[in-house]
C-alpha cells in the first residue's frame, strides 16, 4: 500500500473532535445535530456495522436557551424505586443544580435506544463554560455550526450602530418622545 493510500485510509477512519458552542442554543434541537456527529451519520462511510462516530465537545452549556416558558414547564422525572419515591424536577431547578445536565440528557435521548448509545454517549464531552482541559483542546479540529444566531442585547450595541440604523417609523411632527 502506497503512502498516499495509507494516509487516505488514516484520514478516512480517524476520529475527529468537533466543538459546539451552546451559547443561546436550544439543547433539544442542537442535540439532534450533535447525535448525528456522535454516531458518524454525517460521513459517507457511515453504516450500522461501521464504527465511525466522532467526538463532540460542547462548551458554554450553562448559557443554553430554552423556548418560551420551557424553563418552568419542562419537567425531569426520577424514581428512586421506593414507595412515594417519584420526583419531578423542573428544568430550571436541574440547570441550577448542574448546568451540563440538560445538554447531556438531551443528547442521550437523541442518540436513540440501541447498543451503540453508550459508546456514542462516551464520546460526548460537556463543559459548562469555555474552559476546557488542554489535552481535549489540542484534539479539536472542527466546529459545528450553531442553529440560532446569538442575539445582541441593546446595551451591547455600539453607539455608532445605534445612530446610523435606518429608521422605519416616522413620528408625527408634533409628537415628542419622552
Amino acid at each position: 500500500m502506497s503512502i498516499v493510500r495509507r494516509s487516505q485510509q488514516w484520514g478516512t477512519f480517524a476520529r475527529m473532535w468537533h466543538v459546539f458552542d451552546a451559547t443561546w442554543q436550544d439543547p433539544y434541537q442542537s442535540s439532534q445535530i450533535i447525535a448525528k456527529y456522535l454516531l458518524g451519520r454525517h460521513k459517507p462511510i457511515s453504516h450500522p456495522m461501521n464504527r465511525c462516530g466522532d467526538h463532540v465537545v460542547v462548551i458554554n452549556s450553562s448559557e443554553i436557551a430554552l423556548r418560551g416558558d420551557e424553563w418552568q414547564m419542562r419537567v425531569y422525572f426520577h424514581h428512586d424505586t421506593y414507595h412515594g419515591g417519584a420526583s419531578w424536577t423542573k428544568a430550571w431547578e436541574l440547570h441550577k443544580k448542574d448546568p451540563t445536565m440538560i445538554m447531556k440528557k438531551a443528547v442521550y435521548r437523541a442518540l436513540g435506544n440501541n447498543l451503540t448509545r453508550h459508546q456514542a454517549y462516551a464520546r460526548l464531552h460537556v463543559f459548562l463554560d469555555d474552559k476546557i482541559p488542554l489535552e481535549i483542546q489540542q484534539n479539536l479540529s472542527s466546529q459545528i455550526k450553531q442553529l440560532r444566531p446569538v442575539p445582541q442585547r441593546l446595551d451591547q450595541i455600539s453607539p455608532e450602530e445605534l445612530e446610523n440604523f435606518p429608521q422605519i417609523v416616522k413620528l408625527p411632527e408634533t409628537y415628542v418622545l419622552t
Binding site: 443561546w24 436550544d26 448559557e63 443554553i64 436557551a65 430554552l66 423556548r67 418560551g68 416558558d69 420551557e70 424553563w71 418552568q72 423542573k90 428544568a91 430550571w92 440547570h95 440560532r148 444566531p149 442575539p151 445582541q152 442585547r153 441593546l154 446595551d155 450595541i157 450602530e161 445605534l162 446610523n164 440604523f165 435606518p166 429608521q167 422605519i168 417609523v169 416616522k170 413620528l171 408625527p172 411632527e173 408634533t174 409628537y175 415628542v176 418622545l177 419622552t178
Partner: protein, 158 residues
C-alpha cells in the same frame, strides 16, 4: 441633596438672567427652535420647526398605502432590537397605532415581539426607572436565557 439641587436651580433661574429662558408654564417640548434675527432696526423672532435628526436615515415610503413595516419588506424577529426600539417609548411601552402608523396586523405582531424582547432581556436599556438592566440578576428561572418562536404569534397575513 434634593434641597441643594433646588437651590442651584433657583439660582440659575433667577440670579443669572443671561441663560436662556428656563421658566415655562407648560412642559417644554422643543418642537420649534426660536431664532432671533436682527436687521437694522427690526428684530424678527421666529419659531422654526426643525427637521427630524434622523431624516436622512428614513426609509422611502410606498405610494400604495402600505404601512411602513409592510413596505419595508423585512421579516422582523424578536431579536431585532434595533427595529423594535423604534416602536417603543423610553420606558419600553409600545406606542399606539395612530403614532406608529402600522396596519392592524403589524401593530399586534410588533407589540408581541416587543414583549418577547423584554422577557428575553434584550432591551434592558428601555425600561422604567429602578429596573434591573442585566437579565442575569433576575430571580429563579428568569435569569436563564429564553428565546421565543415567532410562528407562535397568531397575527399573520397567511
Amino acid at each position: 441633596m434634593a434641597f441643594a439641587r433646588c437651590i442651584a436651580k433657583f439660582t440659575k433661574n433667577y440670579f443669572l438672567p443671561d441663560s436662556s429662558r428656563s421658566i415655562s408654564i407648560t412642559a417644554t417640548r422643543n418642537i420649534k427652535e426660536i431664532r432671533e434675527v436682527k436687521e437694522n432696526n427690526t428684530t424678527i423672532i421666529e419659531g422654526i420647526v426643525k427637521p427630524h435628526p434622523k431624516e436622512h436615515l428614513m426609509l422611502k415610503s410606498c405610494d400604495n398605502g402600505a404601512c411602513p413595516l409592510c413596505s419595508a419588506g423585512v421579516n422582523v424577529k424578536h431579536t431585532d432590537v434595533l427595529i423594535l426600539k423604534q416602536f417603543v417609548r423610553s420606558d419600553g411601552c409600545m406606542l399606539p397605532r395612530r403614532i406608529t402608523g402600522l396596519c392592524n396586523i403589524q401593530q399586534k405582531r410588533v407589540g408581541i415581539m416587543v414583549t418577547m424582547a423584554h422577557r428575553a432581556g434584550l432591551m434592558g436599556t428601555l425600561k422604567p426607572k429602578n429596573c434591573r438592566m442585566d437579565p442575569k440578576k433576575r430571580r429563579d428561572w428568569r435569569k436563564y436565557n429564553t428565546y421565543y418562536d415567532e410562528t407562535t404569534i397568531k397575527q399573520s397575513y397567511y
